[in-house]
Symmetry: C2
Subunit: 213 residues, 2 copies
Amino acid sequence: MEPLDEQQLAGGLAGTRRRRAQTGTKERMIRAAARILSREGYARLTMERVAAESGVAKTTLYRRWPTKAALCMELYLEVAGNELSDPDTGNVGSDLKHVANAVVRLQTKTVAGPALIGLIAEAQVNPDSRPAFLAEFAERRREVTRLVLNRAIERGELRADTDIDLVIDALGGAVTFRLLQGHAPLTQEFANALVSLVLNGCKPGPDEQQENG
Amino acid sequence: MEPLDEQQLAGGLAGTRRRRAQTGTKERMIRAAARILSREGYARLTMERVAAESGVAKTTLYRRWPTKAALCMELYLEVAGNELSDPDTGNVGSDLKHVANAVVRLQTKTVAGPALIGLIAEAQVNPDSRPAFLAEFAERRREVTRLVLNRAIERGELRADTDIDLVIDALGGAVTFRLLQGHAPLTQEFANALVSLVLNGCKPGPDEQQENG
């Protein structure tokens, strides 16, 4: 998203000026929501506070996002879009570790973590909002891993009958589980070990079986 | 939990009678909460409605459970306690499939599903309640799988360095992920395939590599 540039604004056409001003307003509202979310979490984020902190009229805020869940969804997708990319290293293990680490970083170091927690909670307590939100949300999140796994199957690195959705759920599920339950830390080591588990399983390899018993 | 027995009540001592009456009251409140939860979900469950539907005074209800989350926690643990047991079949694959299927059944066919969804949501939006609730909740849920995995390591069915908490997160996470996001069905086939994935990984076995690649 381009920052506002005073010179361009002054020299531009009226339409361009209006569009840029709108972009600036949207950016201000999103940034204000991100600051509140980082500082105080989803429960204390309200549309009133976003309006006050961004200096934008409440009607303008509501015109763009009817609910705080919709606002958080846009925030989440914007941050996730910047963080998640297809690494395409040529090796399925490296690719998946790259993605898993990016997801862990996204959920622990960026505002996407509290946004995701809030969105999941909201979708459970407001059942009406659930299907549409989760369909879009889950789908966007799965795209990168699906690309990685399909390439790995084509290269013969994974079994041809690998259930891609199952692998995505095992990887994404474990990360989300720790994020939601908070029973164990979300670390790089965890992300890497999770990828190894899903690729290799936890049975002894043929060498280990011969050597050890 | 023993059902009320009118004859025993009539013939018993005063203390026994009082204890039985208390058990009956608790049972009535729990059953009323379960009916509301099954019919209408966590969002529409209120302490007022539990009191009205069970015919128990609100003060009695609040004396036992200060919040609806506490009530749902007890409900969840009661149902889970009945459904989840250590199968001890002598084989790690059979044991894990038994547990995974029990968890899927618990979350899709019993009132534990909506109770769990509500509790997870509540813990996110009311951060103060989070640590205590999730510590107890997560711990109880992990016990059975931990028993199964430790036995399998002792028998040499799993690698000695298997990270038990990671395996539990991969199994439980994928199930919870589907429950929360609702993007794909929670079925027996899914539970069995998930166990195979975590045990065997998704790389081709040595035979397949020689034959096919």
